[in-house]
Symmetry: D2
């Protein structure tokens, strides 16, 4: 990562646009044409596709719709780089994204510059609606920054050479493992959901609404790799009683024995990340686990996953600019030991699985127009994750933020924090 990037300190949209776009370019800089082209699985997309798709978003919803006389870079790109917007017409099938050896990476970069220049030129004269779409597009691009990293990590992991994309961060002293403390949460009526005060929120984060919390406590930190190794040693992956029925079927169908990217060696567990294969750090938060694994671990540990409301209510008083985020490292780091037990690692480090299905908040209304397909139509079959990860751009996440994945997916930086009933 060439330099720190902090969202929100600038209040000028053009400057934010420049910064977000530059970070994307920086993330893609180490990639070869081939690295940027191959699709490792249907869930993932090629880096080149991410680079182009986020540009298509600006080109379509801002330049085409709000800038008179704009000429698209290439009329075919609408077909190639629409992700899932049915209202925008037919599109290239998702599992075939990796077949696009052309346009080349260099051509996609030229496309990016074309869009950048057109948008920067038009920025001053954009109507408010278009400025809101630019803002949405920037948050959208930040989401793809994280996906770009997790997708390329997945691709490189399938190469027997296990190449490293970045140098390893300088070695950190491994902190002494810390006792887990329980932090009691609020009880009774609370409010969650976007309250309109964070400057930006996706449609699915609102509306603000009341809900009831029952007596509970949250762990003061995330579950660590060392604790996870204990779960493995105790036969966690071989004990059906710990698992949801679908989770157990998933474990058996895929012979799951450890988090994704872990391998057992003679010297202990190792993991693969963008800095290559290295020993697992026992003090760092466990990551690359599915909802099923998180749920089974919690049951083994005598707890449960937090609900979204419990997590969000607790996070409302925590600064979202903490933890390891995208300007730090390419994998979660151990937390610095602290004097007084308090909620830590709520933001950054790892996305925390909650026990809440991703369904609409009461009174939810999708955004108007094609961007209304952004969130609402994915509200089945997925679970909510909260808090961001080491690959989330700093400034992108907040308490009301709702990330969501299917329960078997684990190529994101997913982890967990324990909760329990009181």
């Amino acid at each position: 990562m060439p330099r720190s990037w902090t969202h929100g300190r600038e209040d000028d949209l053009a400057e934010r646009f420049r910064e977000v776009r530059a970070l994307t370019d920086a993330l893609a800089a180490p990639l070869s044409d081939a690295d940027a082209t191959v699709q490792s699985m249907p869930d993932a997309s090629p880096a080149k596709w991410h680079l182009a798709h986020v540009s298509w978003f600006f080109e379509t919803f801002v330049l085409r719709d709000h800038v008179p006389g704009y000429r698209p870079f290439d009329p075919h790109f609408a077909y190639l780089f629409n992700s899932y917007y049915e209202a925008e017409g037919p599109r290239h099938a998702r599992p075939l994204r990796g077949m696009l050896t052309r346009p080349t990476l260099a051509e996609v970069c030229a496309y990016r510059r074309h869009v950048d220049e057109a948008l920067m030129a038009a920025m001053g004269a954009l109507p408010d609606e278009a400025r809101m779409l630019v803002t949405l597009g920037l948050h959208h691009e930040q989401q793809h920054q994280e996906l770009l990293l997790t997708d390329i990590q997945h691709l490189l992991s399938l190469n027997p050479l296990e190449p490293a994309l970045f140098d390893a961060p300088s070695a950190l002293p491994a902190p002494v493992p810390e006792t887990l403390h329980w932090i009691e949460g609020r009880e009774g009526l609370v409010e969650i959901g976007d309250d309109g005060r964070s400057g930006f929120a996706f449609d699915c984060e609102g509306p603000r609404h009341r809900t009831v919390l029952h007596p509970h406590a949250l762990a003061h930190r995330a579950v660590t790799n060392g604790e996870w190794a204990g779960f493995i040693e105790d036969g966690g992956y071989r004990t059906p009683a710990l698992w949801l029925d679908e989770g157990w079927a998933w474990v058996r169908a895929h012979d799951v024995e450890a988090p994704l990217y872990w391998k057992r060696t003679e010297r202990g567990w190792t993991r693969f990340a963008l800095d290559g294969r290295r020993p697992v750090n026992p003090a760092a938060p466990v990551t690359h686990i599915s909802f099923y694994e998180a749920d089974a671990y919690a049951r083994w540990a005598g707890g449960r996953l937090p609900t979204e409301a419990e997590w969000e209510s607790a996070a409302q008083n925590v600064s979202p600019v903490g933890g390891t985020q995208l300007d730090g490292a390419y994998c979660p780091r151990p937390r610095a030991a602290e004097g007084t037990p308090a909620l830590t690692q709520m933001f950054g480090d790892v996305w925390e699985w909650t026990g809440s299905a991703y369904r609409p908040h009461p009174g939810f209304r999708p955004a108007e127009g094609a961007v209304g397909e952004y969130n609402g139509k994915f509200m089945s079959g997925q679970f909510v994750l909260k808090g961001g990860s080491c690959a989330t751009p700093r400034g992108h996440v907040r308490a009301s933020y709702r990330n969501f994945f299917h329960p078997h997916q684990r190529w994101q930086f997913t982890g967990l924090r324990l909760a329990k009933d009181l």
Copy 2:
């Protein structure tokens, strides 16, 4: 159905045992050995398997564990007829249940009598824990009564001859379609979940807990076949904007154009049920629809699905012994027109999809022992349905009852009731 069966009027466990078991036998009476053996799909089970499995439940959890000297009918049956209880050891693979041409239907009936006699002989001396397991077993058997009917209906539907298992009920006058009325629901803090006053509840129905309802209203009746035909005519199955993303993928993958069992003929829509293929009754509740279809319909109609809490709160003041239930007919019937608009068809007729994922109530604890696998381990990937259907034994359902299926499944008697925000 040979005779009416009403649960709950007897307070003698032995009498209830006798009645429930007799109803199962009556339901299976029209089946041939082959009808009772074939498995139409992995989701469904052969009737013979249902007949044996519910007996295995009593044999294992009551007779084996609580009746000294009991000798099992056949030691192989524990392997053949365990459904999914990991704690009870290995078992015959679910998709292969239809390969069991032996034991024959007659042998399975003999197995039932063996268990009946042993349990009736032991009933007087059973300890309380065992009596609770007998009660659980009876409710379990009632669930399989409904599955037996829906599974055999699915099997017969795959036969090009479309044989009828039962005579058609006498023709009913088709009521005039009725305007849909909206009934305003409670707002603010309410209590839902089992309160221990209904005599029996499954573990997942509790604990009783507070939740918040936001301003809303429920339709006073279920959506009808006639209304559904309007959805079809309006292109509902061809309009992606109405569908959840996974729902739209499901529609395209399976070329879904209408509810399961519907066929378009020159004279209009027909449906298949246990009384054969007949014209769709426009005034009857629509049934055999997936969650995806219910959700898309609600969006088309300008509403949404009720949450479980909204539905349950409204149902708490409605008698659960209403509507068409198992002692009536083999498909939902139109409701009798009424003078004053009020909530109707809450119980019986069709299971109503809610918008709530099937997840634990706050503070949920599974039952102790092997029967703890009954509900809790299925709490991912499914949605809650409420209210029972025309194939639910009368007396089996209640406001807190939580049925659950995957969003694509529709061979049960599934329908919907609209809700809307106020």
Copy 3:
């Protein structure tokens, strides 16, 4: 088997019709309605389907086409029981044959009687073309007699109870294993293919034609179970160099370690057959092996599979009414030891895989009309097997007979005889 049945001694078509039909009924006699209905895999068909399909063949190609005024038993049966005749219109999908719980077994038996009576009544007045179709239909029914047995064996094998359909034959003294002798074959120009002298042949057996044999020898008997056990012990299933590429992929994909129906127990290998699970007889021919296994064994043994021409040329001087055939037992038996080494076990016992792909003989022309779909359209992807098995009706097989299956299929009574170059 209730009585011996020898084909060919009667020259009266009506008498042969009566006998073949009666044997089919006898084979199905031990089956329950469920046994006769379930389909164990797409390759197999339910017994009830076999019983009806062979009747449909007579009803369609003889009664419908050649008997004025014939009224079909049930107009739906043409759809249900056509196997693969495109010229006869649409038909029930093969993998769904097991869904037909109706018509019942009793109804199918009534269908058989209806066809029998109509055909016997019409027999005397049938034109020659129709008499030829009756003859074809009888040979067709004999093929289904064998399939009925192998299909029901496969179905019963999937039942954990492993029920026996027939009593075991009386115990035979296990002969001393015999040295394998090599019998030199003809060399140079030979003639193979149907010569029109056997009274009946399928279209694919002709025309008679010349071919060249190169110096070779055939083993005087089939490979035995004892020899096969040696192949297993020597790591045959774990040595890729012995296998065709597709064979090795098949072994790994299905974890193949032994012939179908074999299980290793503490006391040695057992096999399942229609008389239940019993110890493998080391002197009996090995059976239920795929082409891939036969080919790998031959390579391991330093030989190869015979070509069809080598086998057929050698068999031309051997009586086809030998070996264990359908009037004997339900699995291959050891051969009686003999004084002089000579070709034995050519007919009956096990179908012998040849190294020849099932392709048309030079000058092959399919039969005229719908029955032209009988053989020719299957001439890709399959290998020729020769000689009949313990489940082939005596009198049905001859030197020119061409059986054919895909190289991975092994639920038939398939075995092998070694060949080698000289």
Copy 4:
């Protein structure tokens, strides 16, 4: 194609080595890193993989085994670039070849130079056995030259942009369609198979052996695109009676309506090739058809496919250095009209499907050592093709050459010539 390359005029192995290797480099020259990396389907391999694999062949079987002190370029490459040689140990799974974004194309080219230099340095001192392996390696590399082109064509065809890799050849005058003439073939005993006089042959081409030809004739030229369009117009793809059973299933499963790469436009049929999408030339040989299609066409045309022996016998008197081969164009061209009817287009243009399964010639023995896995283990499930194509390096093909593919495969330059019985 930068320059003409003619095999065989040099008798110096080093010069031939240099020329073959240079042609491969020239073929890959227009490819980007991404073009060379992506795998379009499991049947195809990335260009980069072809480039490396053929080098691995020389490195392993020549340099490692016969050149003392040779140090491999990268010890991981044996794992990455072994194709299917079980004797050479474990290897990267074929369907994952496209995941190898590293090594880059530049690194693979460096690998090629490393091998080239080591082999050229050692060439003078190689023992005869190693020189034979070099020769084998060159023929092996020529096969991969053809695959490299067909695989990249398939990849580019999946890109909605349909990019052209090469300029179109200069427009050719479309010859007047020519009447099809029948050329009578030899009858009776003939010899086919490698006779050792062509300097090189793969093991599977021998041994030379006698076979019998029955009265027949071959078409004097290949079937043309224009004739194929007639088959389409006549409903060829909708008439089950024309198809083998497996072919018909394949047509329906994949909705096949025309050769691969054909699209119907308002102006008529177009095809995609390495020069982009262009109108179909009615006088050029049809290509990119499966065995199933070839077989169905022949039946429709009243003929059949030639047997391998018929084709090879006829080709023995035809010069194999004719037709459009790799130094010409990237798709088959029309033949120049000729005065006297004679066999033409036997070599080059399109591989011609025969009706012969790919099985061993009588007396076949695989080559010794690991290279014995080259041909023999693929002798099931495939059909023989003869004569080479427009993508076959000139000099590589001969009468006894046996190409082989599965009957559904059609991404090679596959076509057909009619035969008929006399």
